[in-house]
C-alpha cells in the first residue's frame, strides 16, 4: 500500500514537473523593453502646427502611372542636389534624373566588382557635388561623379556596419551601432580621425532599433543635421562637427518599445513595436531644416515641417498633396518620391499664397 501511494505521488509529481519543464527547457523567452520614460508621448517642445498657405502644383512626374508602369521598379533611397535627383533601385542601380524628369544616367548593378553594390543603406550628395553611397554588405563607400555617373572612388569601410553616411568638407562620418562612440569621423581617404558622442545621454539608454536616425547635409555649407526616426529629437552640427543641444519636433512623439526574443544558443532577436515614426526624411538647405514627418493623423507622411538650423525654432509646415517617402527642395521646386500606391517621382512648383 505504501509503495503504491509513493508511486502515485511520483506519477503526479512527474506530470507536474514535465508541464513546467516543457515551457522552460526550450530556453526561448521573450520580453518587452520599454524606452526610458515609458510609452508616454514626449511633448517637449511641441507646438500647434502653422500651415504655410502656399499651394503646390504638380508640373511633371516619373513613374507611378499604374502598376504596369515599369519606369521605376522599386527605389528605396533618394538623394538630391538643386539640379538632379538620384534614386537607388532594389536591383542595385543608381538612377539620375534631371530637373525636367529626364533620365540622365544609370550606374551600378548587383555584385562585388567596381561600381557594383550588394545592399547600400544610405545615399547622400556631399560637398563637391559627388554622390556618396555606403554599402555595408560590400564593406565600402562609393563616390559617383554627378555629371557622368562614373565611379570616382571606392573606399574600404573601417567599420563592420553603418546604416548612414554623412559626407562633410573634411571627409565623412559613419555611425556604427555596436561600437563605443556614436559618430566616427574619417578622412576623404577613409582613414579614421576621431570619435564623438551625441550630446544627449538618453540616446545611450535606448535600444539600437529604437534609436534610429536620419541625417541630411547641406553640400554648400557642409553643415548637417541628425534627427530621430522614432521619438522626439534632432541635432544641428556645423561643418567642424560641433553639435547643438537636443532640439524637438513640433509634434509630440515617443520612442518605441522593442521585443527581445532570447533564442537557443544565445541568439537574441530584437523587433520594433508599432509606433508612428517621426522624421521620414530630412533636408537641409541654407538655414532651413525640412523634416518630412509621419506622426499622428491627420496627414501622416504628408507634413513637411520647417525649422531654423541656427536656432532650432519651428516656423511652419507645408502639406503635401500625396503620401511621400522622400523630399527634395530646391528654391521654389519641390520633388517628392513616393512608393504608394506605385513608385513615383513628382515635381511640384511652390506657388506662394496670394501670388
Amino acid at each position: 500500500m505504501r509503495s503504491d501511494a509513493c508511486h502515485r505521488a511520483l506519477l503526479s509529481r512527474s506530470a507536474g514537473i514535465l508541464l513546467i519543464l516543457s515551457g522552460c527547457l526550450s530556453g526561448e523567452r521573450g520580453e518587452v523593453i520599454f524606452p526610458p520614460g515609458g510609452m508616454a508621448l514626449d511633448s517637449t517642445g511641441s507646438l500647434q502646427r502653422v500651415w504655410v498657405r502656399d499651394s503646390l502644383r504638380e508640373i511633371r512626374s516619373v513613374g507611378g502611372a499604374s502598376d504596369q508602369d515599369t519606369t521605376l521598379i522599386n527605389p528605396y533611397m533618394m538623394a538630391s542636389d538643386p539640379g538632379q535627383i538620384y534614386l537607388f533601385e532594389t536591383d542595385n542601380r543608381l538612377l539620375c534624373y534631371d530637373s525636367t524628369g529626364r533620365l540622365r544616367w544609370v550606374q551600378g548593378g548587383e555584385g562585388g566588382g567596381p561600381g557594383e553594390y550588394r545592399n547600400p543603406r544610405d545615399i547622400k550628395v556631399g560637398p563637391g557635388g559627388r554622390v556618396w553611397l555606403v554599402d555595408p554588405a560590400s564593406g565600402r563607400v562609393t563616390l559617383v561623379n554627378r555629371e557622368t555617373g562614373k565611379v570616382e572612388t571606392m573606399l574600404k569601410m573601417r567599420l563592420a556596419y553603418s546604416s548612414m553616411i554623412t559626407p562633410t568638407p573634411a571627409g565623412f562620418i559613419l555611425y556604427p551601432p555596436d561600437q563605443p562612440g556614436d559618430l566616427h569621423y574619417f578622412t576623404p581617404q577613409g582613414d579614421p580621425v576621431r570619435i564623438d558622442s551625441l550630446p544627449w545621454s538618453g540616446y545611450h539608454q535606448l535600444e539600437s532599433l529604437a534609436s534610429q536616425f536620419r541625417t541630411a547635409v547641406d553640400p554648400k555649407s557642409g553643415r548637417w543635421v541628425l534627427g530621430f526616426i522614432y521619438g522626439n529629437g534632432w541635432f544641428a552640427f556645423d561643418s567642424a562637427g560641433h553639435a547643438s543641444e537636443r532640439r524637438f519636433y513640433v509634434e509630440p512623439t515617443r520612442f518605441p518599445a522593442v521585443i527581445k526574443e532570447h533564442k537557443e544558443r544565445g541568439t537574441v532577436v530584437t523587433s520594433l513595436i508599432r509606433t508612428p515614426a517621426s522624421a521620414l526624411d530630412m533636408q537641409l538647405v541654407g538655414d532651413t531644416v525640412f523634416v518630412l514627418f509621419d506622426g499622428q493623423e491627420p496627414a501622416r507622411r504628408r507634413k513637411v515641417d520647417m525649422y531654423s538650423w541656427e536656432t532650432g525654432k519651428y516656423f511652419g509646415s507645408l502639406m503635401l498633396p500625396e503620401l511621400a517617402d522622400n523630399i527634395s527642395i530646391a528654391g521654389a521646386s519641390l520633388r517628392v518620391f513616393s512608393t504608394y500606391p506605385e513608385p513615383k517621382l513628382a515635381y511640384y512648383e511652390r506657388v506662394r499664397a496670394g501670388s
Binding site: S3, H7, L10, L11, S12, R13, S14, A15, G16, L18, L19, S22, G23, C24, S26, E28, R29, G30, E31, V32, F34, M39, P256, A257, I259, E261, S271, L272, I273, R274, T275, Q296, E297
Partner: protein, 185 residues
C-alpha cells in the same frame, strides 16, 4: 549529469525498486504531454471559438484583432481606429497568440502597441488550427462578427487603408439597427 549518475546507481541497486519508478515517470510524462496537447487542440477548434472563447456573448457586433507580440508595425497601424471603435456599440477584443510561459510580459506588448481594448492570450497552435480552414491567413488578422455571431469579414490587413474604411463602415453599421434577419426560404 548527477541525475543520470544517480539513476544508474538506483538501477544497479535492487532493493529500491527503481524500475517501476522510471516507468511511472515515463507514463506520467506521456499522460501530461497528451493532456496538454488535447487541451490545446480543443480550446479553439474554429475561428468563432477563438474569438468568443471564455467570454459572455456581447450584444452587438464584435471585431477581433488576432496578432502575435511581434507584428509588422505598419500593419498594426489600425490599432488607433480599433481603440476608438471600442468606445462605441462595437465590442472590440484582442487575441494575442503567445505562450505566456515563454513570454510572461505579453501584457507589456499590448501596452507597448498602445492597445486600450481588452486583450487575452491564446495558444498559437490553436489559432493556426482555427485559421487553417480560411487558408491559413498570416497574422495580424481582423475578424468581424455581427450580433448573430455570423462571420462578416476576415482579413489579413494587407491593405491598411481599405481596412480603415471597412472599420468605419462597421462602426456606423453597428451603431444603427441590427442587421436584418435572413430572408425566409
Amino acid at each position: 549529469m548527477l541525475r543520470m549518475h544517480g539513476m544508474r546507481l538506483a538501477l544497479a541497486g535492487g532493493n529500491q525498486r527503481p524500475g517501476p519508478a522510471i516507468l511511472y515517470f515515463l507514463a506520467g510524462s506521456a499522460l501530461a504531454l497528451w493532456s496538454w496537447q488535447t487541451v490545446s487542440r480543443f480550446r479553439a477548434s474554429s475561428l468563432e471559438d477563438l474569438v468568443f472563447a471564455g467570454k459572455p456573448d456581447p450584444p452587438g457586433w464584435t471585431v477581433a484583432l488576432i496578432f502575435t507580440p511581434k507584428e509588422c508595425p505598419s500593419r498594426m497601424d489600425l490599432v488607433e481606429r480599433l481603440n476608438r471603435a471600442a468606445g462605441t456599440e462595437v465590442s472590440v477584443r484582442g487575441i494575442m497568440l503567445v505562450d505566456p510561459r515563454r513570454f510572461p510580459g505579453w501584457r507589456d506588448a499590448a501596452v507597448a502597441n498602445g492597445i486600450t481594448f481588452p486583450v487575452r492570450a491564446e495558444s498559437p497552435a490553436a489559432a493556426a488550427q482555427a485559421l487553417e480552414p480560411l487558408g491559413g491567413l498570416p497574422t495580424p488578422v481582423l475578424a468581424v462578427y455581427d450580433s448573430a455571431h455570423r462571420l462578416r469579414l476576415v482579413t489579413d490587413l494587407a491593405s491598411g487603408e481599405s481596412v480603415d474604411r471597412l472599420l468605419a463602415q462597421i462602426t456606423s453599421n453597428a451603431s444603427g439597427a441590427s442587421p436584418s434577419p435572413e430572408p425566409a426560404p
